[in-house]
């Protein structure tokens, strides 16, 4: 990997860019100069009609958007609206809608950034065209420019829609929610009836305040359970799954395919069916308690989901049922890749099965599945389904604020805040915290992984 100083690199690139824009303007002909204002002007006059019109259309669309729609929201983004919704003579007169102001304000800012990029491309296009003409080369025909979208520029064709989709449905909402973390958007500040506004770092202070109303203690509790859960869920599944895979792969064991298929059933059946049923199995009046009482092992039901510690243990145990099959499938493929002669020579040297596992199988598996373990761990940090379908985050606790229960992960807590409490501002703060936790874990582990090679190394 190349190691550059990122900040210095960015500045020098920016400087180079500005210099090129300058020289393009100074040395360019009049067509280029007008192109600085009317995008695509130069290319159109030079016969590059398709490209030129695309630039021109982008510029026109931009101004139509800005003045017809975007500007009214952007201009209010610093206050998020001042006009309250009022009731005048039994008519509701809607004022500013803080939600839309924030959302479309952000959209407008991003679109402005995008148009600057397009403008830069337009300048570059002029520069390239002029250079080519000066060197006596001909410019590609319009037909060729279009055809290149299926050839050299095929990536642009393929990536356009997916990137737009990710932008609208992932990037924009994330920027929006990150901004919400700095506002007071909650149940008492619901748009369009009420306005909400910027409050700076108040919500973050609230998250780390340990007073009676503060979220500090709850956050600490939920975060530590999230980490404990992710640790156990990942490593228990990993080692038990590996053991099961080795068991099935053992020489002399028949019907390998049957055993595998039986295990894989838990992947095949949608989790909302299987996990909900299992959750009800262990309910107070469920089949497990019913059976144990009937045979006289217990007198009163075991509170599987009411006792905090028991609920946690149950979740981790039931997760084995769901999680092992993945590991088993992966391990099965990988175990076969370990060269047989490694084991043969170990056997000749007098190694017992335990030693062979410790010195051959395990190091190999850990080496190859490092990235998988990492993604499993971060996936478990956000494992919504298992927690939500099994315990719903319960049992509830009076000691915790924000409706958090004993088995709530950060994500399920976030979900409860959004849906039950409509405390959007704190939900956004928790979301950012989840991001930070995942990012810290990923970055610190990723660079330690032995199997992380240069991406191009695989090809």
């Amino acid at each position: 990997m190349k190691k550059k100083k990122p900040v210095a690199g960015a500045f020098s690139a920016l400087g180079k860019d500005l210099r090129e824009i300058g020289t393009t303007f100074v040395k360019g002909d009049w067509k280029t100069k007008i192109s600085f204002l009317i995008m695509g002007f130069g290319p159109i006059l030079r016969g590059q009609i398709v490209k030129g019109l695309a630039f021109l259309a982008a510029e026109i669309l931009f101004f139509v958007y800005l003045f017809g729609f975007g500007l009214q929201y952007l201009s209010k983004i610093n206050t998020l609206g001042t006009v309250e919704t009022q009731k005048i003579h039994r008519h509701t007169v809607y004022g500013d809608n803080s939600f839309l102001i924030l959302l479309f304000g952000i959209l407008t800012i991003v679109i402005i950034a995008a148009i600057i990029l397009v403008w830069r491309m337009n300048v570059r296009e002029n520069f390239v065209e002029e250079k080519k003409l000066r060197e006596g080369k001909t410019l590609p025909s319009n037909k060729k420019a279009l055809a290149s979208l299926l050839d050299e520029n095929f990536d642009k064709t393929l990536m356009a829609l997916p990137m737009l989709g990710v932008f609208v449905f992932t990037v924009l909402p994330i920027i929006f929610m990150v901004c919400v973390a700095f506002t007071n958007y909650d149940a008492t500040h619901q748009s369009p009836t009420n306005l909400f506004t910027w409050v700076g770092l108040d919500n973050f202070k609230n998250l780390f305040s340990f007073g009676s109303n503060g979220f500090g203690k709850t956050f600490g509790t939920v975060l530590s359970w999230t980490l404990v859960w992710a640790f156990f869920a990942t490593f228990i599944d990993y080692f038990v799954g590996l053991a099961v895979a080795m068991l099935i792969n053992k020489k002399g064991i028949r019907f390998k395919k049957v055993w595998r298929t039986i295990l894989v059933v838990t992947i095949a059946v949608p989790q909302f069916v299987s996990l909900l049923y299992v959750s009800k199995m262990f309910d107070n009046d469920g089949i497990v308690n019913g059976f144990l009482m009937r045979i006289g092992l217990i007198d009163s039901y075991i509170p599987f989901w009411q006792d905090p510690l028991l609920a946690k243990v149950m979740i981790i145990l039931i997760n084995i049922w769901i999680g092992i099959p993945y590991m088993m499938l992966i391990a099965t493929g990988l175990l076969m890749n370990i060269p047989e002669d490694l084991y043969e020579s170990a056997k000749i040297d007098g190694a017992n099965p335990g030693q062979m596992f410790r010195h051959i199988t395990l190091p190999y598996m850990l080496f190859v599945t490092g990235p998988f373990l990492l993604t499993q761990f971060t996936g478990n940090l956000n494992n919504f389904n298992v927690i939500y379908l099994l315990s719903g985050g319960g049992p509830q606790s009076l000691k915790l604020t924000g409706n958090a229960g004993h088995t709530d992960l950060l994500v399920t807590w976030l979900y409860k805040m959004t849906v039950n409490d409509t405390d959007y501002k704190m939900a956004a703060v928790i979301g950012i915290m989840v991001f930070i936790v995942v990012a810290v874990v990923t970055l610190s582990v990723y660079n330690l992984l032995p199997s992380v090679k240069d991406e191009e190394g695989f090809q």
Binding site: P162, V269, F272, R294, P371, G431
Partner: protein
Amino acid sequence: MSDTTKFESLSKKKRRENTICYIILVLISIIWLFPFFGLVMQSFRSYDTEFGGMVGYLIPKHFSLDNYKFLFSGETNYLRWYLNTVIIALANAVLQTAIILAVSYSLSRMRFKGRELLMRFWLVLGMFPGFLTMICMYFLLKQFGLTQAGAVPGLILTYAASSGMGYYVCKGYFDTIPKALDEAARIDGATRAQVFYIMTIPLSKPIVIYTALTAFMAPWCDYIFASYVAFGHDKSYNVAVAMQRWVFTNDYQGYFTRFCAGGVLVAIPVMLLFMALQKYYVEGVTGGAVKG
């Protein structure tokens, strides 16, 4: 003489070892299948004579199809929910596969400006929890009229729109196809698009099936976002959203066996499909796990 006894005792030891292994495997299998056995048994319990609640015994006293009849009786929108889910799953399988293939091909084969930056950026985006953006997505969809009554197309759009980020496994597979093949085809005059359609996709059959299969199965489990988008509009629910209510909010004591019956009907086709395509699934997860 001593040699043969030694040999016999060794094979005896092996046999005993294997017997233990078999016992463990049978135990595991029982644990794994027990809940599903229970689910099926409960679904056949007679609603008329034994009511629909939870009971402490496994085998029903009277077998009947009461619960299944209820699902098809039109008392609830079960068939509509089922259809909704099938539509979403099929559309998702097609759109998501197309998008993931397109993105993977571009990232694996083309070298464009900002490619690595884009991959890193998407990796960072993936670290945000999905539910964070739920409210914002809801209002975005609402702007287009794609909530409540329009929840089905709304969900299809949302799933497809963000699917580009899930390219890892597929790109990893494309990376293993030798680039020399591409270059040879290009020398013969094929365009990039032709290489993609005529060569890369047919060569990647396992990963195409894997992608489509996972895309098809995901919507069956989506409860959270689906319930948020379809909120309060019964006809737009998918099975997960609708049947969740039978267990949680409605009086589950009466609806429990109905939930089981509905669950069996959901599980069977999805499970059969999965089992039929299991080979490709294994190839996908194994490849994905190793390359990360």
